[in-house]
């Protein structure tokens, strides 16, 4: 019988190396997959990982686009990582992302066509608040009734999606949208539009906020008492009580912070790159962010790198699709492999495989 046995002290070096090993394993297994589909695996891997960064023709455009694509993922993943460290499992960032976009974007639509420098800060606050309040529902139910936050936050994703659909087919529907369930385009509203800060870079305000959150998140995690508290809560509930940590506060803070950051991500996305609210607005970023959080080892710097890596596979995947006719489904399998290998390697780092012989059992 094969058995997993916990390693008493997992190697620190291996913990750090895990993501790199996972990426290499993904390249190998993905390469085999592409070869079976009749594509040159080396070209495919080069197009996915190299071309978006260094190809003469496209890289000047795709490099900044990596930040644009990664910004919401990183922003959400950092929020989630605090909770995941403290054993508070917010699986519903997608819902908080939607609510941030609806509440913040809805505020902008309500103010249209008022032009004022106060509009943008206001809708940022409303976006963060939308996500925060949505995350407070599982927080309060957890604190008051000990309801499982995994289920509650996940279910609220679907409620949020229905709320969005009701809004864009009703009060927020664009008067010039030809009947489509889409809101007014935010680029028609200067005060609310999350525009490119430098032309042709794609960089928008949300990218700056993301970078600030990476730095602040790093300081919180490593230098601040809050970082210590969540780490203790995650390791042992009893120990954290001795350390004076109130578990209810931890739950509220972790869900609140991750909700607010998801809400901000939704607001920046809807007023910028997406451009409008529609039923097609949610693309699963909130779920991808969970992968990014783990891929980044629940560490802000790691998450920054992981988010960029995910964005690279998206953008490189698009290039591979039209340059090599690799089907979209194969690209998704490729992305899925990344998480699979990460978790697989993780297990081997923390556990060792033991072979129990039958004779042992006979004793």
């Amino acid at each position: 019988m094969l058995r997993l046995e916990a390693r008493p002290e997992p190697s620190r070096a291996m913990v750090m190396l895990t993501p790199i090993i996972a990426v290499i394993a993904t390249m190998i297994a993905g390469g085999i997959l592409f070869a079976f589909l009749g594509n040159n695996p080396f070209t495919a891997i080069r197009i996915i990982f190299w071309d978006p960064l260094f190809n003469d023709m496209v890289a000047s455009y795709t490099r900044p686009q990596l930040l644009v694509k990664a910004a919401p993922l990183i922003l959400m993943a950092i929020g989630l990582s605090f909770g995941f460290r403290a054993n508070v499992w917010n699986i519903g960032a997608e819902g908080q992302f939607i609510m941030g976009a609806v509440i913040g974007g809805g505020t902008a639509l309500a103010l249209y066509p008022l032009e004022s420098p106060l509009v943008f800060p206001l809708i940022i606050i409303m976006g963060g608040l939308g996500g925060f309040l949505w995350a407070m529902i599982p927080a309060i139910l957890k604190i008051r009734f000990n309801a499982n936050e995994i289920l509650v936050s996940l279910m609220l994703v679907y409620v949020a999606a229905q709320f969005l659909a009701a809004m864009v087919t009703g009060p927020m529907k664009s008067p010039v949208g030809m009947g489509f369930p889409v809101s007014r385009n935010f680029n028609e509203y200067q005060s609310a539009f999350n525009a490119e800060l430098l032309s042709n870079t794609g960089l928008h305000f949300g990218v700056l906020v993301m970078m600030a959150v990476v730095i602040v998140g790093y300081i919180f995690l490593t230098r601040h008492i809050f970082g210590f508290q969540i780490r203790v809560s995650g390791q042992s509930a009893r120990a954290s009580k001795f350390a004076g940590v109130n578990p209810h506060t931890t739950v509220a803070l972790c869900l609140g912070i991750s909700g607010a950051l998801a809400g901000l991500a939704g607001l920046f996305e809807v007023t910028g790159p997406a451009g409008k609210l529609s039923t097609n607005f949610p693309l699963g970023y909130g779920f991808t962010a969970i992968i990014v959080a783990f891929l980044g080892r629940l560490h802000p710097i790691g998450i920054l790198l992981a988010g960029l890596l995910m964005a690279l596979t998206y953008i490189g995947g698009e290039l591979a699709q039209f340059q090599m006719s690799i089907p979209a489904a194969a690209i998704q399998v490729f992305q899925g492999m990344l998480l699979f290998f990460l978790l697989g390697v993780d297990i081997l780092v923390n556990f060792r495989l033991r072979w129990d012989s039958k004779s042992k059992e006979a004793h």
């Binding site: 409008k276 953008i315 698009e318 699709q321 039209f322």
Partner: protein, 358 residues
């Protein structure tokens, strides 16, 4: 000897250069699809059009595509990447790519864009669509004859003019042959979602519909119809012939191939211009799929006749007298609808007992 060597080398270089020049001259054409080519509906037919370009123009062109592109910033990025990597003609095959097409077109004045079903144009952006409503009239005619419960179900996607026009056209044709007919409309708010489409089909069957039309792209409604005795439907966008002879008794096929080949040819000839194309049965952009034995011979004959008359222009799908749903007059006796009104149609005709969601 040396001379010969030099000559040979020179020839080699020349052929090499010529080869490179040909490779360079290959016209790169990109497509972005809202769904997968395997949807057997909307995207499938656009992909058939892409293949037709390759078949017709062979070595002179190279076509590429990206599937499942959301109508978001992602579409803008994909089109930009295509433009940067040397594509000179890009087909965007879903309505809501519209603003993104315009954004990218502004940045790449040398690249030509073709946007399906949209209404925003520029010097390098053309729009094109098909007069699907002509096909709707033909299947509405069949439906009116075939329904026994006098209830026709309609799986609608979004309440936009194109869809509303189709409902009106099908209703008028059905009513012309069966005054008792009633339409039930379910709004799915999606172009392609097999789960939702199947639910909609079942809801309509439960409400007594025995003929179902769909303006969504998957074959899921067909699979549901197949489970019930005596329910028929029509292939949408693509023939969906795998469900013939029943439940699929006919279909409306979007045939983009001739248009796509013509546009690619125009690029090669240097005669491409920004245009707005709206073709119907006459030009072959809308085709009626084979009517199966499940439809009585005389109905097949009359439906065929209607299709021919629509093609020749002898009959228009919207010919007065027609009132709007609220009873106000729209078209007088013998008057036909103009394209402008049809393009922006946001009302039901009289007799439809439903409301357009708003």
């Amino acid at each position: 000897m040396n001379l010969i060597k030099t000559l040979l080398a020179g020839a080699a270089v020349a052929t090499g250069l010529a080869g490179a020049a040909i490779a360079q001259d290959k016209l790169k054409i990109g497509f972005i699809y809202i769904g997968p080519p395997g949807d057997m509906g909307w995207t499938y037919e656009h992909d058939q059009g892409r293949k037709a370009i390759e078949e017709a123009l062979g070595d002179k062109v190279e076509t590429t595509y990206v599937e499942n592109v959301p109508e978001s910033a992602d579409s803008e990025r994909v089109m930009t990447q295509m433009a940067l990597s040397g594509h000179k003609l890009i087909f965007a095959t879903s309505f809501n790519y519209m603003d993104h097409v315009m954004n990218v077109a502004k940045k790449f004045p040398d690249v030509k864009f073709e946007h399906a079903t949209g209404f925003k144009r520029a010097d390098n952006v053309s729009t094109y669509s098909a007069r699907f409503y002509e096909g709707r009239a033909v299947i509405g005619h069949i439906a009116g004859h075939m329904t026994k419960t006098n209830t026709i179900g309609y799986i609608a996607s979004y309440p936009i003019p194109e869809v509303i026009r189709g409902i009106n056209s099908a209703y008028l044709a059905a009513k012309a042959v069966n005054p008792e007919v009633k339409f039930k409309v379910v709004w799915a708010y999606t172009w392609f979602d097999p789960g939702k489409e199947a639910d909609a089909a079942n809801a309509l069957i439960e409400q007594g519909a025995d003929v179902i039309m769909q303006h969504t792209d998957s074959t899921a409604p067909m699979s549901e119809m197949k489970k019930h005795e005596g329910i028929i439907g029509f292939g949408q966008a693509s023939d969906m012939g795998q469900f013939a002879p029943k439940p699929r008794v006919s279909s409306i096929i979007d045939n983009w191939a001739p248009y796509y080949v013509a546009r690619a040819q125009a690029m090669l000839d240097g005669t491409w211009e920004s245009t707005d194309t709206w073709h119907g049965i006459k030009e072959g952009m809308v085709e009626i799929g084979e009517m199966t034995e499940a439809v009585p011979a005389e109905v097949r004959a009359s439906a065929q006749e209607l299709a021919e008359k629509l093609a020749s222009g002898e009959v228009h799908a919207f010919t007065g007298p027609i009132n709007k749903q609220d009873g106000s007059a729209w078209l007088a006796e013998g008057e036909t609808a103009d394209d402008g009104t049809l393009a922006g149609m946001d009302f039901y005709v009289e007799g439809i007992e439903a409301e357009i969601p708003n």
